[in-house]
Symmetry: C4
Subunit: 212 residues, 4 copies
């Protein structure tokens, strides 16, 4: 594995501004992981033993949780694309912040299946929220590491603006986890609400990327 | 996650004509999802417990439904490619119409396995038809959103022509679902017929794309 | 789905020489399917219930069949690459000949697991051979369709030469299937032998591609 | 399958310096296999039967082994990228050395699940170490084959330097396997330690690649 052992201290001081990979390479790998996660979730839709509509009924919550997670992974794919296309260099820190995000996204199939197979019971709903929260924090860390590298006047920093959705989302997930102890459906409603919030287009952002 | 909170109403009015992603990126992600869906279907071919030809016999319907779904996913991959290569811009609406299509395609492994494991029983055959119908409608929506964006005189709109196959297919799926209540094999025959209809090449279309 | 209904007969006559997709696109999709098939095979390596070396023992044949199939899929990936990089156009016929090959390659995980879980019993060994044979025939069909399209003086046709490996392989698979009725290990030996035959490099071919 | 049968002995002598594939193609395929391996590991996280936190408790070791393997596959993805981006030609030997590495990486989901489901019992911990060791040796072989092809004064050879991490890692895995017979947690600690060693950035290497 490629590594020199003769480190130059002077170089080390500015090494975190150095690229280790092209953004395109990082994005292709991330797209592959997200495409796999979004597709293998269907393997958790267990085939019913009987060939009746009744046998499908227990799958309804599994299906609903599948839809929710599919939408979330679609949102992450979209947001990740927006982030990386304004990224000019991938440092080691960015690479690992990105893998950290992929780690939490890879847990979606598990959390989704557990929620679905237990009719949105309280504990799985909380665990699902924790995965959502960790993924949102991981996205925020990735974004922060990239913005710090790109600089406050970079196109990315300007395109992000105040980033109210990015800041509101983890707050809402945390609130939803708390609400789940009162009523699990409140938590589920918040999860769905945040997804809808991301689905409503930020038209101005789209324009900026299009004209930028 | 990248989002400005200072929306410009004037911009919003024309924002739906703005690009959020290159068509190449959208196609690569869609290709990955289709490649995964087409390949993981084989995981539903449960390994027989015994090492005899008799033990393979219950797998015959599973195998046949696998072949049918493999061909269908191949057709969608091909048609999707034709559609996207004439797409010049990906708006937020196109992105989500595309994910909506991928959602229904991702259900092929489930519907295929249920049909196969129940010897093409009526209810699974109907559910399979519903998935086919929803995928066809999703493709039609995606195509409509793109054509509206590209304009009526765009190369895509002209290449599509009257699109009789695209309009006939959902009609036939709906008819097949109705026929399944009479005889499930009629429905299966229609599903196979529509696949054959798509397999027969539209030579003129190929020529247009090749010379265009 | 894109299809005009106003076909031009004059055009139809020469339509089969028209491209529907770039070779790069076809290869990327095929690579994805092969990468998935080669990787999900490991899901058939069932986790032993106990944490002892004895519990691993029943996995030995599964592991051996996994190694054999891994090598075969690697060979197909390599040969497919050689074929497509000399392909200048993808017609509808080439596209479907390619999907036909991918279909048989997608059955490798199933055949591999069945052979492995039954200690290379006769019937699974025969079925494995049938999958090998069908994949080899599918490759031959794909190659023939492409060569016919490229022409007898094309770089591909010249690079192929007499293609003795491509012709010998299906013959040997067929022979191995027959031999399995006598002794299943003879069949397995032939399968391994053909793989080794492909592993030994065709140095001249490599040179031609490198200098061509 | 493409093969000439008229080999030229003179050509054969220098044939091992010839390219069979572009490094980009090799890397895309490897990235796909690693992305699949890193994502399907989550399928080994079996969904608990009950919807309680207690039901999650047996998953804790599975989760920990998942984290460790996720990090390892991330390290291999990163190191593989560094290696291939300094590779100018892919010979048949490099192609098969690369597939050999992918083979061992594809066993990570199996080894991870077995370790996790048995609370890091001694035998699975040893087997996990064997997979780590074989992957490290496979990486070393791949690197050696490429360096031999690129030459001792190539940018790759210079970037590798003395490669102390690459040489130390297999030694530590072998030691850990021995230590597992004394105490399995010692082995696990060494596995984690080696991962941390790779995570700490080689800043000078990053700089070289960035400025090179």
């Amino acid at each position: 594995m490629p590594t020199p052992d003769d480190a130059d201290p002077e170089v080390e001081a500015r090494a975190d501004v150095d690229a280790v990979m092209t953004p395109g390479r990082l994005e292709a790998f991330s797209d592959a992981v997200i495409a796999i996660a979004i597709t293998i979730m269907v393997l958790e839709l267990k085939i019913p033993d009987e060939a009746t509509l009744d046998a499908l009924r227990p799958l309804v919550p599994v299906f609903l949780s599948y839809v929710l997670s599919f939408v979330y992974l679609g949102i992450y794919w979209n947001n990740h694309h927006h982030l990386i296309k304004r990224t000019t260099e991938v440092t080691g820190g960015i690479l690992w912040a990105n893998l950290h995000l992929l780690f939490w996204l890879s847990l979606f199939p598990f959390a989704t299946a557990w929620v679905g197979e237990n009719d949105f019971a309280t504990t799985p709903v909380i665990v699902y929220g924790v995965v959502l929260l960790c993924a949102a924090i991981a996205f925020f860390i990735l974004q922060t590491v990239i913005v710090r590298h790109e600089g406050p006047d970079s196109p990315l920093a300007r395109a992000l603006g105040r980033d109210w959705k990015g800041k509101l989302s983890p707050t809402l997930y945390a609130a939803a986890i708390g609400l789940a102890f009162v009523n699990r459906w409140l938590a589920v409603a918040v999860y769905a609400l945040v997804a809808v919030m991301w689905l409503v287009p930020d038209r101005r952002l789209e324009r900026r990327f299009a004209t930028g």
